[in-house]
Symmetry: C2
């Protein structure tokens, strides 16, 4: 029987720069009568990863430039926050009706380059995406090996919108110890036809499954996914980055 379980890890404290996230997650899991086991996938919200890495900007420290001030005036937003977004943005994909869709330096396409003021833990503060979310995932994976004594996979997840469809979903921005894509390239159905779908974004689906137990308001930024046993080698979330020249929608 193929079965996955997806379990919320509750009771984490507010995360501060320098916190040892793997140990805090292990302890919160234990307090909830769970353990982190060999083969588990630990899915962690980007926000707490960023906070532990000090990827926090106090808006009182930001002096907005001319462009940020003009955009803020047009959109009725905080110019200092737009200044931070622009500094995190490699390329503006769309700027319409106050919505700013950016390509980040990692190559992800998302609103406001992932800069977020909600759940920042302090007033007038924004949280940025990790500098290198795959490296964050790798560091956390190594830290779980030490603190929990188990070889796990780690997914750093954020909540992104999408084209064409209403609603956001959680996706993987950093991966360690897990393939990003399950590949069916060249495989054939019983009639001999090549499969239409050739690559499944499994780590994105794992991030989405984790979101279902995490929620946004009850300080539950971690879930453990158990029972997923890929047979492909590990990859990073950079596998998801579609080069602009191969993208029909940029």
């Amino acid at each position: 029987m193929t079965q996955l379980t997806v379990t919320a890890v509750k009771g984490l404290p507010e995360i501060r720069p320098g916190d040892d996230l793997a140990t805090l997650i292990r302890d919160a899991a234990r307090a909830g009568r769970q353990d982190i086991r060999e083969g588990d996938i630990v899915v962690i919200a980007q926000k707490i990863v960023s906070k532990s890495e000090g990827r926090i900007v106090h808006l009182s420290d930001v002096v907005p430039g001319e462009r940020a001030r003009a955009m803020a005036a047009e959109a009725g937003k905080d110019a200092r926050q737009i200044e931070v977004v622009l500094s995190e943005c490699a390329k503006i994909v769309r700027w319409e009706r106050g919505i700013l869709i950016c390509e980040t330096r990692h190559g992800f396409v998302c609103a406001n380059a992932g800069v977020d003021r909600s759940n920042a833990g302090a007033p007038d503060t924004v949280v940025l995406l990790p500098v290198d979310p795959d490296a964050s995932a790798k560091r956390l994976r190594d830290a779980f090996a030490r603190s929990a004594g188990a070889t796990v996979a780690v997914v750093v997840t954020d909540t992104f919108g999408r084209a064409w469809r209403e609603g956001h979903t959680n996706i993987a921005i950093g991966i360690a110890g897990l393939p990003a894509l399950k590949r069916y390239v060249g495989q054939r159905d019983p009639e001999g036809y090549e499969l239409r779908v050739t690559e499944i974004a499994v780590a994105d689906e794992i991030a989405g499954a984790a979101e279902l137990v995490m929620g946004k308001l009850d300080r539950c930024p971690v879930a453990i996914v158990r029972g997923f046993t890929p047979d492909e080698p590990a990859e990073t979330a950079q596998e998801y980055v579609r080069p602009a020249e191969r993208d029909l929608f940029r």
Copy 2:
């Protein structure tokens, strides 16, 4: 403890038009020592829903028109299949390098209007999306109430690509007994800031979670998701359809 389980239902026969899908799924679940319980979400691949509804076209019955022949010549594809895609397509969103992104009559944006030749169950055959996948989900939900004696939710799922990111994920094209979106509109974080993300596409995330146990090659087109207890009222997958005028990427 908030926990979901996602369990594959294996051993279904090849589905034919007119088959009683809910009874076949109940029997396959029982044979695998599972039962379908009150409150479960039964996630069912579009392909078998469509087959049971007779949404199958034999390409030998199709006479391609001039446009389909021209497009097929350009892309090196079967003109009869493109004729079927065009007949299912309300609007062509992109036609580039042999890739045809369509808006379906349901309002979904996907490759080839969801028309698929792989896993069709017979040679020279394509399977179309259900005419009304929400109605399909509702019928199946009612059928489970009779055949399994349980009130379940049903998600009809297909595997779609997305803009900007490599890899496909499963999403919900039909929903019954479940909300499409979890709404956080107007809710505030502990600092009083409005949440950045206001609508989570929970049924899409459920469909993606189910995909992780379903796979494409081992005749496992159904999964049971247990433990998700929404407090919002049920909706249809039409909640996901973003009107073209509100979409920055069409």
